[in-house]
Assembly symmetry: C5
Homo-oligomer: 88 residues x 5
């Protein structure tokens, strides 16, 4: 999984039926020092992560496994909200 900061939300009317009602967050990958990295992505969320919170997310098929419809065509999903990161 990768760590990311929640930075926003996407609204979409025309979309795959299987994800109607699923929150689509815009998240920005970060390193263990909370520095922003690379490109923001759109990830499904069922934990209610808020803007400004840090999360870790899974990519590919794994990203959808926690959704109401696990076979939906989602390739990034929040796995958990980070309490803290302990590094050397």
């Amino acid at each position: 999984m990768q760590m990311a900061k929640v930075i926003g939300m996407v609204t979409s009317t025309v979309k795959v039926k299987d994800i109607k009602g699923v929150t689509l967050l815009v998240i920005q990958p970060v390193n263990s020092k909370h520095e922003l990295l690379g490109t923001p992505i759109v990830a499904a969320d069922v934990f209610g992560a808020g803007v400004g919170e840090y999360v870790f997310y899974a990519k590919s098929k794994e990203g959808a496994m926690n959704l109401p419809i696990p076979t939906s065509c989602v390739d990034a999903g929040i796995v958990g909200i980070i309490d803290s990161v302990h590094t050397l």
Copy 2:
């Protein structure tokens, strides 16, 4: 998923049978400020997204799950058309 702008279309006569009739868009990944990023890719579309519109798409097997033949060898597909992006 990643955000992208639709920038064109591919035509192909000799191709995998399973995607005959499926629209093949050329899309350019973007960040949440609509700045163009990286390399354009070819993605299948069933929503009728037009050139200039912003979409979010899934990669790998998830990209094909919304097609008439979900097991077709497509590794990128439009998941929805973006109405708006709200970021901090």
Copy 3:
């Protein structure tokens, strides 16, 4: 999928049995202006794409779905030969 130019061929005697007889092309990813990008990869081909032609290909499991043995351990395969690309 990504766009690529066919730039060569790989010959291999010692290899996975499931791909005996399958053509292994060396292809170079390109953008929509036909500019070469990144690293050439080895992709399976069943369409007879020739050196110099432009193709689009799928990665991961999707890349093998069009082969005689779809479960073979191939992670990149030609999906179609490009006739033309229309961009803005």
Copy 4:
């Protein structure tokens, strides 16, 4: 698989149920000379790898196959602890 150094641990209260009790390490990819590379990731561990140790890990679905619940939405997992690397 890729080689990495264990550099820390993530704690998370709100997370996918399937990974309750699974250790979540922060690992930093390295090359064969133990030089740090790219971005640290969060990987599940069932081997008890300690901070400072070198490991190799698998990504995507393969990363979860060694967990108590192999279908959990984890996309990176430790495959083994490295004793030594012999290179030219």
Copy 5:
């Protein structure tokens, strides 16, 4: 698949049971001119590829399909040893 040069071997005592006895090579991705590219990875090998030889390998689930236990959590495996590459 990608081309790579075999540059070493990893030894690991504590590892996933399913890969006991499988050779773990350190391979360095190369382009079609044999120039080294990017980061070395750890790939499973059942062909006896030796240090200095050129190979092509598959990533993700496809990388494990040729192993004694195809469902093992390996995400990179040698598909064949390269005899020669013909490019323009």
